[in-house]
């Protein structure tokens, strides 16, 4: 099956890229002062520190060091996070669900709102709706994420008091021990699993502002691409044919035009996700969202390079993976790609 072969080919191509990323991160760890610092915590004696150097072969030539570092990385030893007071891999596992939840909701907003607005904007070209969305798109790409977050907080929390000012759940739930532990860590899912609907709506209420903040930049980009791609499709012959056949305009747009316009948009989604990872650092700091972004932001303040580099390496891996998935989806949607 051609699609399977395409997938395998892309997976194999991914390996040199991942190795390249690991090389860059490894070189950064060596430049950042004493490499042993990543594996030391405050309680160690000088003899223990020397033992650490032995274990990680830090006195050996650089390529030996890389080999043992890579071996450590593959087996889950990414160093010690001073910020989280636990190994970096544990910190990642601890903070990942919160960020994953936020990222998924933000991506949903970006993709659905962006595609809908872009499609509508193309259909109503040069009318007020179109002008409005184009201004929205321009502001979305030019407004810094942190500024948007602060402004949303000020309007909706400070002034209007509609949304909370941070965190994932309200104090009352934490105090009442109502927050489920040990399930998926995604509070939206967990609350449904235990059947606590008020917790579900509380989590949703807390998610609103951070997810909106995170989604805006990506929304602006998706909106633009969808609009221009839709305009191109609407000028095609097969759309004229569909209209000539007497099809309802809504059917022409939704059934024939839009799915072909989606093809360039999917390629953009991967890039948008990369922006999401960076934006999460800023958004989580502002809304006190206990996720990977806030963890890395705190690490920056404490010069905790092990945590920062661990986060960056993880983000890069996730970005590569997401782009791979997007490419496969693109190949599925557009047969010309995998046959070419």
């Amino acid at each position: 099956m051609r699609l399977a072969r395409y997938i395998i080919r892309r997976l194999l191509l991914m390996i040199p890229v991942l190795i390249g990323i690991s090389l860059i991160v490894f070189m950064l760890t060596r430049v950042a002062g004493d490499p042993a610092a990543a594996y030391i915590n405050e309680k160690m004696t000088p003899a223990q520190i020397e033992q650490v150097r032995e274990n990680y072969h830090l006195n050996d030539p650089i390529w030996t060091q890389y080999w043992y570092w890579l071996d450590g990385v593959v087996h889950g030893d990414w160093g010690w996070s001073r910020t989280a007071a636990m190994p970096v891999t544990s910190a990642i596992a601890y903070y990942l669900p919160a960020t994953f939840e936020l990222a998924v909701v933000a991506t949903l907003i970006t993709v659905t709102a962006g595609i809908w607005l872009g499609t509508r904007s193309a259909v109503k070209k040069d009318r007020p709706f179109d002008h409005g969305t184009r201004i929205l798109s321009l502001i979305g790409v030019s407004l810094p994420v942190f500024l948007l977050g602060l402004l949303l907080l000020w309007v909706f929390y400070s002034q209007l008091d509609i949304f909370p000012d941070g965190g994932r759940v309200s104090e009352s739930f934490i105090v009442a021990n109502a927050v489920p532990e040990g399930l998926t860590g995604l509070y939206l899912v967990d609350s449904l699993l235990v059947g606590n609907l008020s917790l579900f709506s509380d989590v949703l209420w807390h998610l609103a502002l951070p997810a909106l903040t995170l989604s805006m930049a990506g929304l602006a980009v998706v909106l633009r691409i969808q609009r221009s791609s839709m305009l191109e499709v609407l000028g095609q012959d097969y759309v004229r044919t569909a209209r000539a056949k007497g099809l309802d305009e809504r059917a022409v747009i939704n059934v024939h035009a839009r799915r072909n316009a989606l093809i360039p948009t999917t390629t953009v989604v991967g890039l948008v996700f990369g922006g999401l990872l960076g934006g999460a650092v800023l958004t989580e700091s502002i809304f006190r969202w206990p996720g990977l972004g806030k963890w890395s932001a705190s690490s920056i303040g404490r010069m905790d390079t092990a945590s920062i580099l661990g986060f960056c390496m993880l983000a890069a891996f996730i970005y590569v993976l997401v782009n791979l998935i997007v490419d496969v989806v693109y190949a599925y949607l557009d047969p010309r790609v995998r046959l070419g």
Binding site: V141, I286, C312
Partner: protein, 325 residues
């Protein structure tokens, strides 16, 4: 724009011919530039963008006049009265108010314009130059050089910009120069890819073939014919990236990289002031939420990024050969 010229060995062409060659090149090029400008003028959003960016550049250039530095202090250090924030447009308060530690917001805006414009220009132009040279060489000579460059840029491009900038800035000592260095490292691979693609497609055109046929050397073809004709997308990219770099630099300063607190940089001013943003201060008995601490620097960042975006989009439409005749 292909132009006719006298090829052949540099040593054998007399100086007069070289000068004639230069003049023969410039006239049609300048005609095209003039046409580009006329087309741009018709695009009012691009003109609006030009006004926005132009205003900020003017402010940056005129900083010593607009906000004279006090005494022998480093002009980039914002003067502070070390008190809580005071509201703008009041008696006895600097015109745009004061922020965290009592920094003069107006001063910060004016000198911050210098920081932003300088940072964006230096980063983008350096990255573009590096990318141009490497991409042109890789695209033209092909083979192993091209393969190596492609793998190398692949790795850099597979990491999100802010994340990679964070990683590099994290290990260097905290300074504006190091932040610029991190941003240059992040941005050059994009340009290398762009130029390489352009070179690859132009390499096969008929005028390049003609130049080869009459005996022009490879370097000459590369830098005299191919590179000038790949410039258009490069210019668009540079303009758009000026805004993108400004945003990323502001984000990095906001997180805590780059400059120290109290330095005239818009992102820093926002991060220093954000705690005040959610609280209440009193001045002359009236209660305020210090919105000016965030809004003024924020507006400037927005204006610069928006302006660059509008100009870049305008340039893209203008330089598209299909819409020029």
């Amino acid at each position: 724009m292909p132009t006719a010229s006298i090829e052949g060995n540099r040593e054998t062409r007399p100086a007069k011919h070289r000068l004639d060659e230069l003049k023969a090149d410039l006239k049609p090029r300048m005609r095209e530039w003039k046409r580009s400008w006329i087309l741009m003028r018709r695009n009012w959003t691009a003109m609006a963008g030009l006004v926005m960016v132009g205003a900020i550049v003017l402010i940056a250039l005129a900083a010593p006049l607009l906000a004279p530095p006090q005494g022998s202090r480093d002009p980039m250090e914002i003067p502070a009265d070390l008190m809580f924030p005071k509201p703008p447009f009041q008696e006895g308060v600097p015109i745009l108010g004061t922020g965290d530690n009592g920094i003069d917001i107006y001063y910060g805006i004016v000198w911050g314009a210098r920081t932003t414009v300088a940072t964006s220009l230096i980063v983008v132009l350096t990255a573009a130059l590096i990318g141009l040279v490497l991409g042109a060489i890789a695209g033209y000579y092909g083979g192993k050089v091209d393969e190596a460059l492609m793998r190398f840029t692949d790795i850099f491009l597979s990491m999100p910009a802010l994340i990679l900038a964070m990683a590099i800035a994290a290990i260097l000592s905290r300074s504006l120069e190091n932040m610029m260095l991190a941003l240059i490292i992040v941005w050059w691979p994009g340009y290398a890819r762009l130029i390489r693609g352009q070179v690859l497609s132009i390499r096969e055109s008929s005028y390049v073939e003609a130049a080869r046929a009459i005996g022009a050397k490879r370097n000459r073809i590369l830098f005299r014919h191919i590179v000038p004709n790949s410039i258009s997308p490069l210019i668009v990219s540079i303009t758009l990236d000026l805004g993108a770099v400004a945003l990323t630099a502001a984000s990095l300063s906001y997180i805590g990289f780059g400059v120290q607190p109290g330095y005239a940089e818009w992102g820093r001013m926002i991060s220093d002031g954000q705690d005040w943003f959610m609280s209440i201060v009193y001045y002359n008995g009236v209660a305020y939420t210090p919105w000016w601490v965030i809004l003024f620097p924020g507006m400037m960042i927005l204006m610069f990024a928006m302006g660059c975006s509008l100009i870049g989009d305008g340039l893209r439409d203008v330089l598209d050969p299909r819409s020029r005749r």
